[in-house]
Symmetry: C2
Amino acid sequence: MAPTRGTDSGPVNQLRSNKPGNAVQIIGRSSSLYTRVPLVVAHELGVPYELAPVFDLTTADSAVYGNNPALKIPSLRRAGSVLFGAENVCRALEDLSESRRRIVWPEELRSDLSRNAQELVWHCMAAQVQLVFGTIIGKLDNIYFTKARAGFEGGLRWLDEHCKLALEALPAERDISLFEVTLLCLIEHLEFRGTLPVDPYPSLVAFARTYATRPAAQQTAYRFDPPPEPVATEAR
Amino acid sequence: MAPTRGTDSGPVNQLRSNKPGNAVQIIGRSSSLYTRVPLVVAHELGVPYELAPVFDLTTADSAVYGNNPALKIPSLRRAGSVLFGAENVCRALEDLSESRRRIVWPEELRSDLSRNAQELVWHCMAAQVQLVFGTIIGKLDNIYFTKARAGFEGGLRWLDEHCKLALEALPAERDISLFEVTLLCLIEHLEFRGTLPVDPYPSLVAFARTYATRPAAQQTAYRFDPPPEPVATEAR
């Protein structure tokens, strides 16, 4: 495959210039809910990266997805190895990071409340992608998506009612948590793609508004990657 | 909601009779890929449970799913609390267990190979449920499912090629790993539902045949739960 490497007109990454030549590559999209999770973590941890945008999500050619056989993004490529999946990439970024910033991982959540909250964020993330791809791109309307939407809205309602307690239950000695990062990425993606109205979920919106002021959030705001410039793209 | 409690004609659970009155309740289906994961873990750890079967997966009434707002199974109910999601339930079963059996959790996988293998098992599990529900129950045929199927088969091919190394990379000092349990449940579910032929994946089938000889696997073999008997079911 021929990833679009960072250029002056390429993906914005304020970290990239800090350590040129030392950057790992994240294969994904600036408009992707799952891609943004490791992008936020990379900025929080100060890990330099290049974004290799994937432009066509309808193709079944795994080379387009960094050889991920599941045809999904994001992946992390470095040192001749490729790692698949948002949470995996986040863990590898921590491995790579020289910072001592403290991340709270899902396995540290011990109460039913906290575990349910992370489970429902993951569920709503999957439902969001399913709705965007299935009903907007695939133009489907079916019991399959009717139930998915009901479970999606149910999950959001539960999260809206419980997010305050779930946030308070996080270990105080932390810099970030995967729960907060995934919740931010979920809520802002609802607004970015217009899948569902967010007005019914004021607590979630209030959390996202506050968390979105962090530099790592601002530097990874959702946007559609500009198409590759011919001069900067190798032939495939 | 009115769960169907264990009766003489109810769900088979050889552990149940060991500690009557001390059992937790797992809300799910004996035919469900995601439900079987914690059932296997419960048997491996010797945690008594009752299975509360969910008979209608098309309803959008969360009470039917043990109040899981995402309308999914499995959930774990005990002591007035409900926990959602297969991996969460497995972790809670370990918390409840008095055994010292050693489980390897996904966060202990450190290499790209091992992390990718678990990621692709999770991906294939989701794709399997998507295909069963979307194309068998929902009767859909669309780019949405065409790509899902391609990514599903790609994931299985990758797993077939890499499972030997991924299994060898697991810590030797273990009783079980979530990787092995999820892989067993995935492969046997393909055969149970006939979604995809398994012949192209001989290494995966060989693993499943061996792992299926464990008592915990045999006691949780997929089957459709018999409909509730009127006398044993409270009115809702």
